[in-house]
């Protein structure tokens, strides 16, 4: 199954090291392939260095593409993490 969603970075500091670590660690429990598309760049979301290279600031809008058997769980976990600002604000 292939799913595509658009999310916004809500963290004040953008998608910096901590959220990037959260994403990569989170994805380790899912099997699907996950890509982020931002402007012209398409990167593997399991690569922390690639995520950091996108240098996503607050309010940047990115497209998440998930493909695999557990695509649904994967994408909802990711969207939830973006929504909750990677729990930085709680």
């Amino acid at each position: 199954m292939k799913l595509i969603r658009t999310v916004k970075v809500k963290n004040d500091l953008g998608l910096h090291t901590r959220p990037a670590t959260v994403i990569v660690k989170m994805l380790q429990s899912y099997k699907s392939s996950v890509h982020f598309t931002y402007k012209k760049d398409i990167i593997n979301a399991r690569s922390i260095m690639s995520i950091l290279m996108l240098a996503l600031r607050k309010n940047a809008s990115i497209q998440i593409t998930v493909e695999g058997d557990d695509a649904e769980e994967t994408i909802s976990a990711l969207v939830n993490a973006f929504e909750n600002q990677f729990w930085e604000k709680l």
Binding site: L13, G14, H16, T17, R18, P19, A20, T21, V22, V24, K25, N44, R46, S47, I48, M49, S50, L52, M53, A55, F86, W87, E88, K89, L90
Partner: protein, 557 residues
């Protein structure tokens, strides 16, 4: 005259020694062609370097966790993730195969490109990520080129090390008996190296131009981490003064230590139990030395404030497990996240008109199930490793205890299905800090396995007085009759239901209140490690039999 250089205090303490200039020689990496039959060998060499780097980082992480440096541990977490990054693993291997060059040169090119990318395209904020990448790449390179490793043992004993900058792994390796102080030009209070230096108790001053020290060896120097200064070529007088200061400090600690070995009982022989408030994992050893009864209050949220996000179940599990493994025969009472109100993880605004009466502690957790479930799961998973007990903050009604019990039961079933071990019964306690639960203490006690009184909040709620407000802080009186009456109610409820009762809060650490608290019937206190000697001393000076002869006048005043 002493030459005093003002810097930035990074780690406290005083050391007297000889300056040692620390330089790591930069090596040029030659590019070599690798023949195709050697490629697999080359890749194997690279994999081994990654594996060694991973083990090194994991060891370092364990070390900083032991010292309670959670900030450093979380940064090392990122470094570990970088080692697993496909750009570092599969992509690199592809490049070695394609270019047929030695790994070092390929690796440096990849990292170089990455650094250029950051430098050229983005703002300063993302450029600050470069040190992390450089740190990781240097670590990997050190395993590819063995000569890059500097042997710290070559440095003479009693040296004060100075350098432009120090890497965290280097500071982690230092033996504080051999290298007694650190001075750098770069580096700030929250750098990784700083965090580790503090954890190891090595005096450290940063912000010192190292040109002032260069080419002057042998140079006697004093580092005063308390003041954030260094003294170069001090006069004999200054040297002796500092020597005396340093000895005095040590003597003071020794006196306290002597006191700490004594048992906490009253003159008439009533045994009192002293539990520890754990805020930092490095405090466990002092607690053991001071003969404590167990951890009375482990403020789980404090450990994670530096993280700015709620730690994953796995991260929590590792920490809880570590504490339990260190204390296999002591009860360890872990209070679930007491956040919300003023204790926001990032100090952000809650948007509540009245946050102290708002959605905090157990209320917050029951509203944010995911966070609560994650923590409970981590606690349950850790339960087989010791005597874990769970404490619920800000209980104001038994419905909150019941809801938590249901949640715990559900998680226990989940774990069973997943074949993850978990104890059948984990004591669940309630924090009595809201007047409603103090008044209903008997009912709360029936539904709890133990009780814990949080005096800080209880006093402020009962007297409706914010102690941080200077205009009314005189109303915040821990010995107010209303408080003592309520304490009596709680003590009676605990006794009648045969439940343990521990008193936590600043009052417990104040020797002036100890006689009064003993008199109303408190027998268990939970305090920070640094208060043990004083509180023990106070307990040992109370005669409860003597007190019984006179009526408890204070309560009806």
């Amino acid at each position: 005259m002493d030459e005093i250089v003002k810097g930035l205090s990074i780690s406290q303490g005083i050391a007297l020694g000889v300056a040692f200039h620390f330089i790591i020689p930069e090596e040029l990496i030659p590019e070599q062609i690798i023949s195709s039959h050697e490629i697999e060998q080359e890749i194997e060499r690279y994999r081994k370097a990654l594996e060694k780097s991973r083990r090194e980082l994991e060891d370092l992480q364990k070390l900083v966790l032991q010292k309670g440096s959670f900030e450093a541990a979380s940064i090392l977490d990122t470094h570990l993730e970088m080692l697993k990054d496909p750009m570092i693993t599969t992509e690199m291997e592809k490049k070695i195969r394609k270019n047929q060059k030695n790994t070092e040169s390929v690796f440096q090119k990849v990292i170089g490109e990455y650094q250029r990318h950051f430098n050229e395209n983005h703002d300063t904020f993302f450029q600050e990520r470069i040190p992390d990448i450089t740190d990781v790449s240097k670590r990997i390179l050190a395993h590819l080129i063995p000569s890059k490793k500097f042997d710290l043992k070559q440095i003479p004993k009693g040296s004060i090390l100075y350098a432009t900058d120090l890497s965290p792994s280097l500071v982690a390796e230092i033996d504080p008996e051999q290298i007694i102080g650190l001075v750098t030009e770069a580096g700030g209070i929250s750098s990784h190296a700083a965090i580790i230096a503090r954890a190891k108790g090595i005096p450290y001053v940063a912000g010192v131009p190292i040109d002032k020290l260069k080419n002057r060896s042998p140079l006697k120097m004093i580092i005063d981490g308390d003041e954030g200064i260094i003294l170069l070529a001090p006069t004999d007088e200054t040297w002796e003064n500092y020597e005396r200061k340093s000895k005095k400090k040590k003597a003071y600690y020794q006196t306290l230590q002597k006191n700490a070995d004594l048992q906490p009982h009253t003159i008439d022989g009533e045994e009192i139990e002293l539990y520890g408030n754990l805020e930092n994992l490095s405090e466990i050893d002092p607690f053991i030395k001071q003969g404590f009864a167990g951890i009375g209050l482990f403020r789980s949220e404090y450990l994670f404030f530096t993280k700015k996000y709620f730690p994953s179940e796995e991260e929590q599990f590792q920490i809880y497990k570590e504490v339990l493994e260190k204390l296999p025969s002591h009860p360890v009472i872990i209070r679930v996240f007491d956040v919300g109100g003023e204790k926001r993880l990032e100090g952000g605004k809650t948007g509540e008109a009245n946050p102290v009466l708002g959605c905090r502690a157990i209320r917050f957790l029951l509203k944010n199930r995911e966070i609560f479930e994650q923590q409970l799961r981590a606690l349950l998973r850790a339960s087989p490793y010791g005597d874990i007990r769970i404490l619920l903050p800000m209980i104001s009604d038994i419905s909150e205890i019941n809801a938590t019990k249901e949640l715990i039961e559900k998680i226990r079933q989940d774990l069973k299905k997943e074949n993850i071990p978990c104890k059948d019964h984990i004591p669940l306690g309630s924090m009595i800090e809201v007047p409603s639960s103090a008044i209903m203490a008997d009912v709360i006690a029936q539904h709890s396995d133990f009780l814990s009184i949080g005096t800080n909040d209880l006093i402020q709620y009962v007297l409706a007085a914010d102690r941080s407000n200077p205009v009314i802080s005189h109303l915040y009186t821990p010995s107010h009759p209303s408080i003592l009456r309520l304490l009596k109610v709680i003590i009676t409820a605990a006794k009648e239901n045969q439940k343990n009762l521990i008193l936590c809060g600043e009052v417990a650490a104040d020797p002036r209140y100890i006689p009064l608290l003993l008199e109303v019937g408190i027998r268990k206190f939970s305090i920070a490690a640094r208060h043990f000697p004083e509180v023990k001393n106070a307990i040992r000076n109370v005669d409860l039999k003597e007190k019984k002869k006179s009526p408890p006048a204070r309560i009806t005043r």
